[in-house]
Assembly symmetry: C2
Homo-oligomer: 331 residues x 2
């Protein structure tokens, strides 16, 4: 499919399921950009879940997010049960303006369904010349270090740093050993995963992704990754007046789509905090040094290279069949 076909199909499907044009368009941008960058696990692969959440009424097609300026630097957004991309479309520009003016912006998005990657928002902020951090929790999927039961979400964190005349430095990674999307794709392919990825339904170490899907993932990097996953629960939960993963699960209707929860975004101005225009150059020197190191892979680079290809993208047949079946069922 071409990138515009991906966009149009997603948009029209979501509108058919009751999403407003603005809402559908924001999600379609996100899906197209994921496929454009080769991040399939956040592309069309997510559309069946988006349909399900709209159908079950968990996500409101006509959601109308609103913004509260708590003070100069803190903003709270009530998502009104929207897909998070609608919130970003409406308010990321204000996040950027606030950080430019005051040096920092704390943006608390609540009652949103976040099933996309986090780089769309951190990269957009860094594209505007700012430093960005974002995190969100999920549903219990990951066993805290030392335990054998899912309690934390996959809890991704993303960080982006602006670079002059080139795409920002961006990383976006689950605090679990693997993302759930990648694990599911591997289960579908019948591939093995490394020991330490997760536990089966009985709490035993397993290399079979299908068994891990019945059990739980483990944090990346042992207790340190587990600590980060815990911090994400608190930052994207109580700090912004939202639920942690285990509370999210209690409310969730298990429609197969994304749960409702929160996202924390922090944007910071390099110019204001450092107080010097030279800091951007110092960062470039550091990053160029790093790029020149043998065998170092700069995060985000592969996505940015794939983006240059404006041609067609291959969409997984299972995903397309699932979407068609869902559309049939509503006729």
């Amino acid at each position: 499919m071409s990138l515009s076909e991906i966009h149009n199909l997603t948009r029209s499907v979501l509108i058919r399921e009751g999403a407003s044009p603005e809402h559908a368009d924001s999600v379609a941008d996100c899906v197209r950009n994921a496929e454009r960058d080769g991040a399939s696990s956040h592309g069309m692969y997510r559309v069946p879940g988006y349909i399900r959440s709209l159908r079950s009424g968990k996500v409101r097609g006509d959601a109308d997010p609103s913004l509260t300026r708590v003070n100069d630097t803190v903003m709270r957004c009530e998502g009104d049960r929207s897909f998070v991309s609608l919130v970003h479309r409406r308010y990321l520009e204000q996040v950027i303006q606030v950080a430019r003016q005051h040096g920092v912006c704390i943006f608390a998005a609540r009652r949103i369904a976040h099933w996309a990657a986090l780089w769309p928002e951190t990269e957009a902020i860094a594209d505007a010349g700012l430093v960005a951090f974002a995190c969100t929790s999920y549903l219990p999927t990951v066993a805290p270090h030392g335990t054998r039961h899912a309690f934390f979400g996959t809890n991704p964190v993303s960080f982006a740093w602006p670079r002059p005349l080139r795409p920002p430095l961006v990383f976006d990674m689950a605090t679990s050993s693997s993302s759930l999307g990648d694990l599911s794709l591997k289960a579908r392919m019948g591939e093995e995963v490394p020991e330490g990825t997760g536990l089966d339904g009985e709490g035993k170490v397993s290399k079979d992704p299908s068994e891990i899907l019945k059990g739980c993932l483990l944090p990346f990097g042992g207790y340190k990754g587990s600590h980060l996953a815990m911090a994400v629960e608190l930052l994207a939960g109580p700090l912004i007046g939202e639920t942690t993963s285990y509370e999210t699960a209690r409310e969730d209707n298990q429609d197969g789509g994304p749960p409702l929860g929160g996202e924390l975004i922090v944007a910071m101005s390099l110019d204001i905090i450092s107080g010097s225009k030279e800091s951007a150059e110092a960062a470039e020197r550091f990053l160029k040094h790093l790029e020149e190191m043998e065998s170092f892979g700069m995060p985000g680079q592969r996505r940015h290279q794939r983006r240059l290809d404006l041609g067609k993208r291959k969409i997984d047949a299972v995903t397309m069949a699932e979407i068609e079946k869902l559309l049939e069922s509503s006729k």
Copy 2:
């Protein structure tokens, strides 16, 4: 040694080396509190390095740190080549006040020597009811993922969350597989370390800490830990107008003490950002759930338990001999 003996000895040694009473006292508090909590690698073990940095003139005994209020939420501190504990003693209270009033405080400490743990500052902020994050870089010690040469520092990050009527939740961890202090102590003991800890001087995987000290450490958790180490370089470096680890090394006089660099601290108000008094209770429910999980170890808990013991502490004989020898040499 009793806790007050540890304090008095550290204080008097530093004063003898030219530190002002306020400066010496702030470092002595820090050393005593590390020994109190059983964190030996940040206790007396560091005193010889502190002496060396004062003697070489890298750290100024009479340093007079000053504060610039950039705006309502951003503060920059010029450390004037002090040990970081002096900066904390003077300005942490203002960080707390700003975050309480405005919801967030960004504190950029520059030209400081940070060789202590990070939990003293994050825990102090959380004791005041706020959420805290801190990070600092170091000297090239860690090979970026995929490479075989030291470029990142051990780059610790610390996070603290306030808890009513009990010590805060605090973690403080290197983004390397091991801290340099622990690695040095293991080399001294002749112990092995797990594969993946580091590389020897020729870039080969090694389990011998003495060989790794000639080579480099690896990040914890593969590429994900490496990404975090990179973020710390940028956050505690260019973002605050300070050096990254490889630039720090170029300026450093290799006196065997801590290098000069920066620290970023972020303090946030749960009440203002969440907009609800109930958020603190929600966080407690989450943390209690976690504590009840079988085999889960809450970070910081061991330190807080050891703290209850007001008795004497064992100080490593090698460290004491080193301090005595240094004092002899200046007579």
